[in-house]
Symmetry: C2
Subunit: 502 residues, 2 copies
């Protein structure tokens, strides 16, 4: 259903304030409105926008559309094949010559409530990442910026949506006319592989004419400095099952003779990937586009974070010696999980019947999911594996020495866009004003967001505008947003709306 309302200018057109002042002005506005801004995020987080709750997704989309409409945006709600709606908004600025699309997603990862310290949809403020509860509604601002608000999607991406709305409200209160026309694309299916986004964007390509996409997703650099990223790795998931005997066999009577699928799985993993992160599959990296000199320089200039992260993560080593960001510029073969037989009190002296390995590939330009699949399957065949896609029957099992069942999951390619385009230079300059200094520039985010789509469809620069803390527990229990990151995010969004020019 399309819901268009006439756009209206909520801004008075006045002379722009001095650029250096904007940051102070936004800080002042935010300081006076901290309770309302956190209240906005709290309210959004209470909406159960997870794939398991289609009604929650629909209600969230309707709420967001209302928020845009109330601010004078022309709005619409777009879906395809029953997908969660994409919330669209458009705010035209009379003086702007460029148009920027602000993308974020309002859906959150699935939750396992038992793993959470509190209800994922009843936000709780704590005075640190593992701190005591705080009654922020009763507290007098300014809030301690080291407080964290806990809740599913509070960081990923409702923090970006909240920062966008607060920045827009601040500019309005400050009578600042946007320097660009603003379009909004808030997606509800990002955590489910954006299965319908391509179709929806194609259907509405005319509405999405723009000069730039800004992606409100992902965390800032681990140094906690303001960050822009110019690409993201792609993804490809795989579940592989390796078959042993049809029933668990006594490992005293049959061990050393009956094939042990846990051992076969371990051997295969070790053949594919070593403990330094190197992928050992022949030809796997043939399609990898080398980093440019500018990208290498950007990586070399990143603040060092490795030692503090090892402390934070309780690890005594890293994979490889390149450093975090350089490591994530390469393709990755991540093992997400292994299950075979039993361990602990349930362990029996038995050869397991199978072993299941869950794999998460991260792709870099110019790999394609199809090529990665083909290379892995060719590698398996070269090692004597018979590939099946359904559970093998008795005849199949006895006819082949090594049987592996592959269930390929969702996938999309990576993107790295030009860090030196005019639009990129404009975004960097605006971000530096918001940050009051240099910002961290990442050629590519290690995580995956389907931003290749925007490049593929619209052929305009795509730049990441992350605001959440790196330790936000994104995709895990106890997801949280640090308030300082929200405050910085409001400054960043305000600069993108008021000071972006190229």
């Amino acid at each position: 259903m399309k819901l268009f309302v006439a756009a209206c200018s909520a801004f008075l057109t006045i002379a722009p304030a001095v650029a250096a002042d904007l940051r102070q002005q936004i800080d002042g506005y935010r300081a006076a409105h901290e309770t309302a801004i956190v209240g906005q995020l709290d309210e959004l987080t209470r909406l159960k926008s997870v794939a398991a709750d289609p009604q929650g997704l629909a209600a969230t989309a309707a709420h967001l559309e209302g928020l845009l409409k109330a601010r004078g945006f022309e709005t619409a709600s777009w879906s395809a094949a029953g997908s969660p709606p994409v919330v669209y908004g458009f705010f035209k600025s009379p003086t702007a010559k460029r148009t920027a699309v602000f993308y974020a997603h309002y859906d959150g990862q699935p939750v396992t409530p038992a793993q959470w310290s509190s209800d994922p949809f009843m936000p709780v403020m704590r005075d640190g990442p593992a701190g005591a509860d705080v009654d922020w509604k009763a507290a007098k601002p300014p809030f301690n910026p080291q407080w964290h608000l806990f809740g599913r999607a509070a960081a990923d991406d409702k923090s970006s949506i909240t920062a966008f709305l607060a920045a827009f409200d601040a500019l309005k209160a400050l009578h600042r006319q946007p320097s660009v026309n603003i379009k909004v694309v808030w997606e509800g299916e990002e955590e489910a592989n954006s299965a319908h986004l391509d179709a929806i964007l194609k259907d509405h390509a005319a509405d999405l004419a723009a000069d730039l996409w800004l992606i409100g997703d992902g965390p800032v650099h681990q140094s906690r400095s303001a960050t822009l990223y110019f690409g993201a790795r792609g993804g490809l998931s795989l579940e592989a099952t390796i078959y042993g005997p049809v029933r668990a066999l006594h490992d005293g009577h049959y061990g050393n003779w009956a094939p042990n699928p846990a051992v076969m799985a371990a051997e295969l993993i070790a053949q594919m990937r070593d403990s330094e992160g190197r992928i050992l599959i022949p030809g796997f990296s043939d399609d990898v586009r080398p980093l440019t000199a500018a990208e290498k320089t950007a990586i070399a200039q990143l603040p060092p974070v490795e030692d503090s992260l090892k402390q934070e993560f309780g690890t005594g080593r890293s994979e490889g010696q390149e450093g975090l960001t350089a490591s994530t510029m390469r393709p990755a073969l991540n093992i997400r999980g292994i299950r075979s037989g039993q361990v602990g009190a349930e362990a029996a002296n038995a050869i397991p019947v199978d072993a299941t390995v869950s794999v998460d590939f991260r792709l870099v330009p110019d790999e394609t999911p199809g090529h990665v699949r083909a290379k892995l399957e060719a590698f398996l065949r070269s090692k004597g594996w018979t590939i099946v896609t359904t559970a093998p029957d008795a005849a199949t099992r006895t006819a082949h020495p090594r049987i592996i069942r592959l269930s390929w999951g969702g996938s999309y390619p990576a993107l790295r866009s030009d860090m030196a385009s005019p639009a990129a230079k404009g975004v960097i300059a605006a971000a530096e004003k918001a940050a009051g200094g240099k910002v961290t520039l990442l050629p590519m985010m290690g995580a995956s967001v389907p931003i290749y789509l925007f490049d593929d469809l619209f052929h305009v620069p795509v730049i990441g505008l992350p605001i959440t803390n790196h330790d936000n527990n994104q995709h895990a229990a106890n997801e949280n947003l640090r308030l300082r990151n929200l405050w910085d995010g409001i400054n960043l969004y305000a600069a993108m709306m008021a000071e972006l020019n190229w």
Copy 2:
């Protein structure tokens, strides 16, 4: 508590029947008593003699002691430090010059009832390994010998106890005087590593003076022929936990850099053991005593079973090319289970926090558990691992690149005894009479039973007298005994009681 009753001779002393006749006579007795014999096994199987039920173990022991006493055995019940009782029995034969101890265990493996087709302690007869239920109590004997009785410990070892009792009853009914003095040691802690058996045997060494131990445990050869074994592998269990980051990390942002414990576990397994069953740890096999020429000959004469087992197990290969029995003459490093992260619908794009591997070593002469432990730990250190025995604290985690927590479980060494001793020759001759032909001779059973103890303490031959079908699902769900095996076992036990002489 000791409970001695005066032994009395329940047998009339008459001239022995012609040896060739005994088999037919026992068959005749059994045919007339099938309902009662299966009833005995059914009754024993209903007793919940599992480690989780100490009262069930005590009740089973008391019941068994009563069965022996009723048959004229001097009996006792021995424990140490609150262990389940060892049921002891002694039946003196006026004409015997030798004494044989009949060992079996009455405890069963733990159960996971949800995995069973029926209550593990409510025995059910079926007309095949996966057949339809049979109302055997209403059926008219002779029963179909391909029926299987399902229940925990129905095979391992209550079938041996039932065969022993039925053979004894048959000989009494046939007025056959035992050719050996009979001692009984029925243990209740074998499935829990026989933790107190050594102490109990030492405490009662005087009562256990004998010339031979016969071990009523384990399955017959997969060819289903009557079998004797002259040793058993030892065992040593290990649970190893490998540590990754303290919390699950997004594998897009941190994969290729933060150590992945699932990969480290796979790499370590592949370094220790290949998919052909070879142990790759340097020096691991230094203590292995070579097979004798007689043992090699015995293995070469075994009926081939590999092809039919591959069909039965649904496997298209074996580990190694030596054949089943030769493979199980070597030490084994069995992986019983692996757990790391999540698979399937629960898989998240995260680097797991740890990986747990459950390992079951099988030892051969002259390996000792202590040497195996030392060799593995030296190997781990050579590969850069820091070994801990409790969960590492934050300082430990960040100080060491690779941390592995080892929890060593119960252990005991292997035994291979002389296949050509006078006692062994006597046992083989008696078994051949029971079988009406050649029997299968295994130098060593692949599975572990703590028979090294009997050798260590008493320095007399120790020979295995298995009766259960190889496909009895021992240690797994739906454990079962094939009736033909019980019938053959009664013949074998009768021959050991009435025709054993050397």
